[in-house]
Symmetry: C2
Subunit: 243 residues, 2 copies
């Protein structure tokens, strides 16, 4: 059976303006590969309600799991929870379980609950909370959409809680063969190899080093022996490669 | 008049598998902000023809300009040019102008043209070539879609050639006010500020430092005096902020 599929939605003007370099997609991609969930698409949209709602609907319909990052804090530009509720056809209001989590956290810290902080307890009806061990304000899962914070430390912590609850597939393994020749030299034999091993994803990633061209050939799949066989053939064809 | 809008499409399994962290979106985002083109969405898709064709069509229809990155090399997984041709309804074949550019480059380097390298001269009918000063194989623009290489040094060089040919808008300026308080303390006055200055995009980006919470408030817009006025009000409201 094919592995479950996933899409990601990164929400935030700061990524699209070039102010911040996204770290969460890169982190999620690595984690999903480990558990055998196939990340097929990632989108980044700005803090615009229509854009968020449309993207959540599209990704939720297209993939088994959807992971979002950003826009769940207390400020006016944090509109993700309400947009996800709209996209999933759920009502949303301050929920007592989320309020209790926040209240306990603020009590421990001697911080007062106020209207802005209470916004972080707005959770769609029927959603499951995702624990936030860093700053308490929870994420949530509704249907196949998992809503997490944009701050990388919090995103990581939430993902760690969430992942064991999802059904993964066969872990995807990979092996890299480094060939110190230009891609144009490798392309013919490599295409033949890809045709011979349709069960593998074979990618060629060119690089330049000290003025010479080379390529990392990455063989990916869920069958270790098939990867090994293809890598051996590739190394035999290019004896100067570094397997 | 509103600034022109843009979308980006990053193509490549290596980003979605977590093997490589994308650098081109971050670079493009910063460059577009400087020239007043408003990047509103970025998508990353795998080396899958349907996914690429659908994304190019969607982005090309939604935004004034579309920038793609990746998949224009000589290997079997380089399918961007053909997919963009399909999406834009253009025919595609080896084009003499592109072949001449490649041939001259290989002649200079004493490299032989072969079938794989010739694939890089496949350019859709009616497209304009984008110069590649690094490794010769050109990118191209067709309609509002600009197709560039995934290797970051080549992407940057192509973008540098391309950008002066596009009509930008008013440069977007920004000012950051750093407030050493938790977002929950800032959110109320900040929301009021956003309502008072609808012409600005006001974002709040929380951080943690030495166990304390703070937030960078970023005020963005095309009117410098409006940004300045809003920043002054914010600093007056939070006298301990760092403007």
């Amino acid at each position: 059976m094919a592995n479950p599929t996933a899409g990601m939605l990164v929400i935030g003007d700061e990524i699209l303006s070039g102010r911040t370099r996204d770290a969460n997609m890169y982190h999620l991609a690595g984690c999903l590969t480990e558990v055998g969930i196939d990340l097929q698409e990632a989108r980044t949209v700005s803090d615009n309600p229509d854009a968020i709602v449309d993207a959540v609907r599209a990704l939720s319909g297209a993939y088994d799991q959807v992971f979002t990052s950003g826009g769940i804090g207390p400020t006016h530009d944090d509109i993700t929870a309400d947009c996800v509720a709209t996209a999933m056809g759920a009502s949303i209001d301050v929920r007592e379980d989320a309020r209790a989590v926040l209240q306990a956290h603020y009590d421990r810290q001697g911080i007062e609950m106020n209207e802005a902080r209470l916004r972080m307890a707005r959770i769609p009806d029927g959603a499951c909370l995702i624990d936030n061990p860093v700053s308490a304000a929870p994420g949530f899962s509704i249907g196949n959409v998992h809503v997490m914070a944009g701050v990388p430390t919090i995103f990581k912590a939430m993902l760690e809680t969430l992942l064991p609850s999802l059904t993964g597939g066969d872990p995807v393994m990979s092996r890299t063969v480094r060939i110190l020749r230009a891609e144009g030299e490798i392309a013919g034999p490599l295409g033949a190899l890809a045709t011979e091993f349709p069960g593998l994803s074979i990618g060629s990633y060119p690089f330049q080093m000290d003025g010479s061209f080379g390529a990392n050939i990455v063989l990916r799949g869920t069958d270790a022996s098939m990867i090994s066989k293809a890598a051996d053939q590739l190394i035999a064809a290019f004896p100067d490669s570094i397997g």
